[in-house]
């Protein structure tokens, strides 16, 4: 608990609010993990991206970093609107019933993720990385998000969940970059987002190819190549 105890005084309103939003991001990641319907998962992803964009605005207001407004607007347009719409359209075209593709039961998945998230949270806490933009707890939370996103990709056996897992991993990294790299030049941040867009398109193409070929979104029979 050294992370929380390190603050000598009660956290300011800004810190408290930032931590709360970061926590929402992590909770939504858990929500994605246990959502059995793919549509629900996509909606939760949109919500998570919204939370990250809100946090960017909060930092922009609190620390007077005008570039972050642009970044927040772009990430809102891309991650809250474009990506979920693309995935939803794929789901509509695929018309495949996939519910609960998890390799484990929901309870075990969540238990494993809690352990992993706690590991990430405390492991980053002891590193003593302080930023003057956001409280350190937000960084710990972002690493927890990344780790839970990995669990999501590992335990789900359908292409949409795995792709959503990767996109939410990127949300975790964005959260981390708000904490430690919010001053990064805007052009780089925009380039990162553009890169994400390209990746999303490629993921979409490959998901469609997979769906056309196997008439399903499941990855269960993707096990021919081995050795």
């Amino acid at each position: 608990m050294s992370v929380l105890a390190a603050a000598p005084t009660a956290p300011s309103v800004f810190d408290g609010f930032a931590n709360a939003v970061a926590l929402v991001v992590l909770l939504l990641e858990f929500g994605m993990l246990r959502a059995s319907l793919l549509r629900a998962q996509v909606r939760l992803y949109a919500g998570q991206s919204l939370a990250v964009s809100v946090l960017a605005v909060v930092v922009a207001i609190g620390h007077h970093v005008p570039e972050l407004y642009v970044l927040a607007a772009l990430s809102l347009a891309l991650k809250v609107i474009v990506v979920p719409l693309l995935v939803m359209r794929l789901l509509r075209d695929a018309d495949a019933e996939i519910a609960g593709s998890g390799a484990l039961g929901v309870a075990s998945e969540v238990l494993i993720s809690i352990v992993v998230a706690a590991f990430g949270f405390f492991a980053v806490g002891v590193l003593n990385i302080h930023s003057n933009v956001l409280p350190t707890a937000a960084l710990s939370l972002s690493i927890a998000v990344v780790l839970v996103a990995f669990i999501l990709m590992v335990v789900r056996r359908d292409v949409v969940s795995q792709a959503i897992g990767f996109f939410s991993l990127e949300n975790g990294v964005s959260l981390a970059s708000l904490v430690v790299a919010s001053g990064m030049p805007l052009i780089l941040e925009v380039a990162f987002l553009f890169d994400l867009l390209v990746a999303v398109v490629v993921f979409g193409v490959l998901m469609r190819t997979h769906q056309r070929r196997s008439r399903s979104l499941s990855t269960e029979h993707l096990d021919r190549l081995r050795g």
Partner: protein
């Protein structure tokens, strides 16, 4: 020389755009010309960067280290471009209606050349951009383009390989992005908030960077970019993607993409050694290198598929590179960089030779091939030479590079690690050479029902376009082994000195 830098980044992109609209013939010609021109451009940079760093338009930068990797990429771009012409010509599936086949071929070849040029372009950008952030972007672009190329053949295996590749490699690069932002954080403590992660300021400030973030960034970079290098335990996409991609793409993936990702790790290594001293970064690379080499050597002993076998050989060579850098001796570092060039030539050649065999026998299974030397009077012997060079036999380039690495290791008192290196390389040599000599020299295939197929094959090469680039590759390997040009040696030793804790 700045103009060459700009041209190297602009011209392949222009060719890519051209291939989106032009006919098959025009695209093929433009691709071959661009490949050769790119190689000429990279060679033209060699004398200049041995003495100073070139920059252009703020975002481009070339020093000795980046030109080594650029040379490897451009050489493969040129030879695989020539090879692609023959590869696509012999690709038509028999039995379909003529009209239908032609339409399919036109579409297939357009997609192929579009992706091929874009892929080569992104790999040339990676060593030429100035800064950790741009480097990450370039490597991510190589991933998404090559994932599409892996899926191009549109078989079930290709779809599976492409999905695994894009998911695993993108997740790895997600970790690479974390490394980038932690490196930014470390740099921001010294250089202030609004710097853009360019190499020169970062390297100049390396000594004053805070310890923990750099340590974190380095390990994250080794794991993240290591996913694309094919280091154990994040190599799992590699054999699938190499085996299922079209052969020219396999050659580029193996000889160039893995090396370019390793270049990214080397950039982090430069900063990390400046900030932390050499001990910690070398230890990390040594562990990953030895584990990768061990895994690859064992898998090479028992492999059924010719392209998967070559893919595991790539894991082996990337392990050798990591170990060589971990030795830290100037001789081993020079050897490692020579190894990058020689491996690019040898592995490109091996994949191109394997592609000819696959075309000839119509299968990738080693058990169903036989008598390659008689049936393919050129490609057979060339493949023998290539595999011997991959196993680091004299007089080829890899012998020289691995000899330097081993000598550097013993010279710098890494006796145990060097001994392990030699033993594992020998095991890998055994697996690789046994399988290849079998398919080339035995008279009958191992699988009984393939007897008939092999007996009915006529002697002759599928296409001369697929032979010429392999001849060039073997000549380059001989040159690197016997009479490496002085300017190249200058370049290598200068690049090695930038890795040896010296100023950039």
């Amino acid at each position: 020389m700045s103009i060459v830098l700009v041209l190297l980044v602009v011209v392949p992109l222009a060719t890519t755009v051209l291939c989106a609209f032009a006919s098959h013939r025009v695209s093929a010609a433009a691709t071959v010309v661009t490949g050769l021109a790119a190689f000429a451009g990279a060679v033209a940079l060699v004398p200049t960067v041995s003495t100073r760093t070139i920059t252009a338009i703020g975002y481009l930068r070339a020093d000795a280290l980046s030109v080594v990797f650029l040379l490897a990429t451009c050489f493969l771009y040129a030879v695989t471009a020539i090879y692609s012409v023959g590869y696509l010509r012999t690709a038509g599936a028999a039995g379909d209606e003529e009209e239908e086949r032609r339409a399919y071929f036109a579409q297939h070849s357009r997609r192929f050349f579009l992706g091929f040029n874009a892929f080569a372009w992104s790999m040339m950008c990676a060593p030429l951009v100035n800064g950790m952030a741009l480097l990450w972007i370039a490597v991510e672009i190589t991933t998404v383009i090559s994932a599409l190329l892996v899926a191009l053949e549109n078989t079930e295996g290709a779809t599976e390989a492409a999905w695994k590749y894009v998911l695993i490699a993108s997740s790895g690069l997600g970790i690479g992005l974390l490394a980038t932002i932690f490196m930014y954080f470390a740099g921001a403590q010294v250089l202030g908030q609004s710097y853009d992660l360019a190499f020169d300021p970062l390297l100049a400030a390396a000594g004053r960077l805070p310890d923990t973030p750099v340590r974190l960034a380095f390990v994250l970079a080794v794991v993240g970019y290591g996913t694309k290098v094919g280091l154990f335990p994040v190599h799992t996409w590699l054999p699938d993607a190499h085996a299922e991609a079209p052969t020219p793409v396999s050659a580029l993936l193996s000889g160039s993409l893995l090396a370019v990702s390793f270049y990214a790790i080397l950039r982090y290594y430069q900063v990390a050694t400046g900030a932390l001293g050499v001990r910690f970064p070398q230890m990390v690379l040594l562990v990953f290198g030895v584990l990768s080499l061990l895994l690859a050597a064992l898998y090479l002993l028992e492999q059924q598929d010719i392209k998967r076998m070559l893919a595991y050989s790539s894991v082996e060579h990337m392990g050798i590179l990591a170990i060589a850098v971990s030795f830290g001796a100037p001789m081993a570092l020079t050897g490692a960089l020579l190894h990058v060039l020689a491996h690019a030539a040898a592995k490109g050649n091996a994949f191109m030779g394997a592609g000819v065999l696959v075309r000839k026998f119509g299968t990738k299974e080693l058990d169903r091939m036989a008598d390659g030397v008689r049936l393919l009077p050129w490609s057979g012997p060339l493949l023998v030479a290539t595999v011997l060079s991959l196993c680091a036999m004299p007089p080829f380039g890899l012998f020289r590079s691995e000899f330097q690495i081993v000598a550097g290791g013993f010279g710098n008192r890494h006796n145990a690690a060097t001994a392990v290196l030699v033993v594992l390389v020998t095991v890998a040599f055994l697996g690789l050479s046994l399988s290849t000599t079998r398919i080339l020299f035995r008279v009958r295939p191992l699988t009984a029902d393939a007897y008939h197929d092999v007996e009915n094959l006529a002697i002759g090469e599928p296409s001369w376009w697929m032979v010429v680039p392999t001849v060039a590759g073997v000549l380059v390997l001989l040159m690197l082994g016997l009479i490496p040009p002085d300017q190249l040696l200058d370049l290598l030793s200068h690049a090695a000195s930038t890795l040896h804790g010296g100023p950039a």
